[in-house]
């Protein structure tokens, strides 16, 4: 059969941000979809998002409630969501209760009523909520074969009447086996939630969707005042931008450091700034982002450990008017502190901020804050999350600086328990050393992929204007020990000290 003769299946938007991407474009029209999961996972909310997204006075939707959540409660709570447009109720979306039909006439009565209502209204969309309650209510009077027969007849009837239908049902994973509904359904969306220490993680899986390629795996979702929002497992594309191979250097705003890095950070690199507390990692990050805006490169500042207001206020103390840049739309300061984030949610927030301002530079301050903001269940996947986050940004030519607090060690950079330096193209190390009984700060460019860089330790100061790089501790040896000393004549020449 040629391409032109194939049945064309339109994909309907679900009204759930992120879900269409996971489904492979949306729900197939005239399909029979099961929304399954345990109580409280958002099944009804998802079904109503779909209905309110699609139903119009010309293409109406019927929402059948059966024995599950009482209709009065369902309406009371669902209308709190922003998608619930009460103007559409009765005009485009009609709610109908099938409890009496189920109790009095069983499955046959329910089927008859649905058929009758669809015929009378010419509805384009149908939701049956809760399908499982219907099955339970009729279990005493219906044999399993009746149920299969009922589901098949319902599915065939709704499809032939060109109805896109959703069946909402409370199911556990064990219910999948040998269940007629799961076999007959064209698409199955499985919602789950699991407590994890003090947080709750919600996940959605597209178990199947006939005729189109869905995004496999579990995708986290959140229920907000706007309903469900799914955060698809990314995908290294940021905001629809194309992958590019950038060229040039991004100056850091610290002249001495640019010089050490061979003219600045190669555009599209990921730079890791490591060092103990108080060494100025955030100061450098601030200078980098401010310098970018000054050069017409918008930025996104992702702050995990303190409120952006405090962060911006501190930057102003150094003469960087970040608040003004935010007001002008050249900089976005994101505050991601909730302790139940998923990596994909974090990535989504950053991606959206990057898209909004057209960012060329991103600062993640700090990595340990990022890890803490994640729900415990995701911390095991932290390295993978970082890999995807950094890859997504640098892949489209965005230069990324990530800060990381680390104990003084030049031998390796560890983020317990995993080595993460592989994520960085370039590694800049800040540290303290003791010189002649005084504490001084030094910086070294430890690595730069594919680029020449300084091999020196350079002293630096944090001044009222930010970081200023000084000399290279000329004449001192043992700098890596943290307590260098002035080289003696014997050390330098290998000869005995000449007499004075």
């Amino acid at each position: 059969m040629t391409q032109e003769r194939k049945a064309s299946i339109e994909k309907l938007p679900t009204g759930v941000p992120g879900l269409d991407l996971v489904l492979g474009g949306g729900l197939p029209e005239y399909s029979f979809t099961l929304i399954a999961g345990e109580p409280g996972t958002g099944k009804t909310t998802l079904a109503q998002q779909f209905l309110f997204e699609n139903a119009t006075p010309e293409q109406t939707g019927l929402y059948f409630t059966v024995l599950g959540e009482p209709a009065v409660k369902m309406l009371r709570y669902q209308q709190q969501f922003t998608f619930f447009d009460s103007r559409k109720v009765d005009e485009s979306v009609r709610f109908m209760n099938l409890t009496d039909d189920a109790l009095e006439r069983g499955l046959e009565g329910v089927l008859e009523r649905i058929v009758q209502e669809v015929k009378a209204s010419g509805a384009t969309f149908v939701v049956v909520d809760s399908f499982r309650s219907l099955v339970r209510a009729t279990a005493t009077i219906a044999a399993p074969t009746d149920l299969q027969n009922f589901v098949e007849r319902l599915a065939v009837h709704l499809t032939t009447w060109e109805v896109t239908s959703l069946l909402v049902g409370e199911y556990e994973h064990a219910d999948k086996r040998g269940n007629a509904v799961f076999t007959i359904a064209d698409s199955i969306l499985w919602l789950s939630q699991a407590p994890d220490n003090n947080s709750v993680v919600r996940k959605l899986q597209v178990v199947k969707v006939r005729g189109q390629a869905q995004m496999p795996g579990l995708h986290t979702f959140r229920i907000t005042d706007d309903g469900l929002q799914v955060f698809p497992r990314l995908s290294l594309a940021v905001g629809g931008q194309k992958r590019e191979t950038p060229s040039g250097r991004a100056t850091t705003g610290v002249a001495g450091l640019d010089e050490m890095m061979g003219g600045g950070i190669p555009v599209g690199d990921s730079v890791l700034i490591v060092g103990p507390t108080g060494t100025g990692k955030s100061v450098l990050a601030t200078q980098f982002i401010a310098e970018g805006v000054r050069r017409g490169e918008p930025g996104v500042l992702v702050v995990f450990e303190e409120h952006p207001k405090e962060y911006l206020h501190r930057a102003e103390g150094l003469g960087f008017e970040l608040s003004e840049m935010v007001r002008e739309g050249k900089l976005e300061a994101l505050y991601l502190r909730p302790l139940d984030l998923s990596p994909d949610e974090t990535l989504y927030e950053i991606r959206e901020a990057v898209r909004r301002v057209g960012a060329k530079r991103v600062v993640i301050d700090s990595m340990s804050g990022f890890e803490l903001a994640l729900a415990p269940t995701f911390r095991a996947d932290f390295r993978e999350a970082l890999y995807r986050l950094v890859g997504a940004l640098t892949g489209v030519g965005i230069t990324v600086i990530t800060t990381m607090e680390a104990a003084q060690s030049h031998e390796e950079v560890r983020f317990t328990p995993n080595v993460i330096s592989f994520l960085a193209d370039d590694l800049v190390s800040f540290r303290y050393i003791e010189v002649e009984r005084a504490l001084k700060k030094v910086v070294a460019v430890v690595k730069m992929r594919g680029s020449q860089h300084s091999k020196e330790y350079r002293e630096y100061e944090i001044t009222d204007h930010g970081i200023e790089i000084g000399g290279d501790l000329d004449g001192y040896v043992g700098r890596i020990s943290g307590a260098p000393y002035l080289a003696t004549w014997e050390y330098v020449s290998g000869l005995p000290q000449p007499p004075p």
Binding site: R76, S86, V89, M96, T99
Partner: protein, 143 residues
């Protein structure tokens, strides 16, 4: 609280008066109250089911009985013959005005419950649909 505000009482009395039409006396008021409640119930049954409607009517009657002890003997029924039993008997000895205020109290609490549970937009939508003139005149006065 919508329950204690004058709007539902005023709207309820308008609905009852409207249903009674030219008929006067406590018996006519009782019929009018039943008609309003049953009409509302039948319309809402499509969405809320007969169980939901029965619960709402029972609660509305319970609240009305607290305000109007005369209604103590009234009961909610679930049959095609009406929503209540004993309403006509309860209002029998009242003056026209007393019967109207007492009987309308059940309707007022039913309306207030609908607004509390479903919000004014959805809760009063059946009233606007079934008695558009009464609803619009009541709203004009409110405005």
């Amino acid at each position: 609280m919508f329950h204690s505000s004058p709007e539902p009482r005023d709207l309820a009395q308008r609905l009852v008066l409207g249903e009674a039409g030219d008929a006067a006396g406590p018996a006519a008021t009782a019929v009018a109250v039943e008609t309003v409640c049953c009409t509302l119930g039948n319309d809402l049954k499509r969405i809320l089911g007969s169980g939901g409607i029965s619960s709402l009517l029972t609660r509305a009657l319970h609240l009305a009985q607290r305000d109007e002890p005369l209604l103590e003997g009234v009961r909610v029924t679930a049959g095609p013959e009406g929503c209540f039993t004993g309403l006509a008997d309860a209002l029998e000895a009242c003056t026209d005005e007393e019967a109207r205020v007492t009987g309308s109290s059940v309707v007022a609490h039913l309306l207030a419950l609908l607004v509390t549970l479903l919000g004014e937009d959805l809760g009063l939508r059946p009233v606007r649909k079934l008695w558009p003139q009464v609803a619009s005149s009541a709203m004009e006065i409110d405005e």
